[in-house]
Symmetry: C2
Subunit: 166 residues, 2 copies
DNA sequence: ATATGTGCAAATCTTTTGCAAATTC
DNA sequence: GAATTTGCAAAAGATTTGCACATAT
């Protein structure tokens, strides 16, 4: 069972084969258009989230931000994350609670992708597929539910751990 | 925005159209086979989870159990949930954090199904589809990841709320 | 100038843990 | 009888909130 202190995340988009391209649009512009006040702290946090290849939890985000603005506070981080989430600019993930109950955040992408958490080594892999988009379409058509947020998380063994433990 | 005190859950399996049948096998037998000691508390909790049409959180489960055994403790509930989760007998859900950060649990079913949380009225709908199973197969084939747990959660507006707010 | 956002500290909520007593096999 | 599980109370971890001060438009 994985029990390391850090998520061994080499995930970077495209680590696994996938058939859909992922792109991330600019968040600050979007916020301005929505009439949201842009503060020093928000600019900083949004920049970090947008640039980061990793899934950040609130505390990690705080520590990265502190390198630029040593006075920034954890409460501000949480308030900003909440704002971005409510405006649909970031997705919130649990990553199968591999590291306790905290949440992880990432800039919303053009097409939804699933996250695979390896119970063996703790790696987080991403995978985008047109079949996922197709499944969402099917559900909407079939049930009449209008999807605003979609989260597909898988837990199991990555290719390497699967071979080791088999 | 939904802000009621209880999840308005009329979900009962099969509320929405779906193309895959869901069945729930017996947990106690499975536990015995796995050599797990069956205590009074475990028997009670497992029975409640198995019978419940709703997604239970730890505290709700405790209160239902207290009607039978007024001494049962919240720690025991958490320890039992943890046992069942690790043995693959129940699934853990977040239901899009519609009601804070707590988790919800349900007996694992023969085929995975997705949970749709309505931001309008708080209803939780379930939907099982062969396309979901097919997507999992595709991901496994394509990435080599061996899936042990799958969780697909959608947030948005149910059919009724979609019409009201459109 | 005024509404809004921030830092700080305390509070809240959920889940986990240490330990002595009770229970199951 | 020995090993495991439980209840209780306390601790831990993540997130939220009240309020006085600072900032953006």
């Amino acid at each position: 069972m994985f029990s390391g202190a850090l998520i061994a995340n080499g995930s970077q988009l495209g680590r696994s084969k996938q058939d859909t391209q992922i792109t991330r649009p600019s968040m600050l512009e979007e916020l301005r258009e929505q009439g949201v006040r842009i503060t020093r702290q928000r600019r900083l946090l949004v920049g970090i989230i947008q640039d980061s290849p990793r899934h950040l939890d609130a505390f990690t985000l705080l520590n990265i931000a502190k390198q630029e603005d040593s006075d920034i506070n954890l409460a501000t981080v949480y308030r900003t994350l909440s704002l971005l989430k409510n405006r649909g600019l970031i997705d919130e993930l649990d990553l199968m609670h591999l590291q306790g109950e905290k949440h992880y955040y990432e800039a919303k992408t053009s097409s939804d992708h699933c996250h695979m958490a390896c119970f063996g080594c703790g790696a987080i892999l991403e995978y985008a597929s047109s079949a996922f988009e197709e499944l969402k379409r099917q559900i909407t058509t079939d049930s009449g539910f209008q999807i605003q947020v979609a989260r597909l998380e898988l837990g199991g063994l990555c290719e390497k751990c699967g071979k080791t433990k088999a």
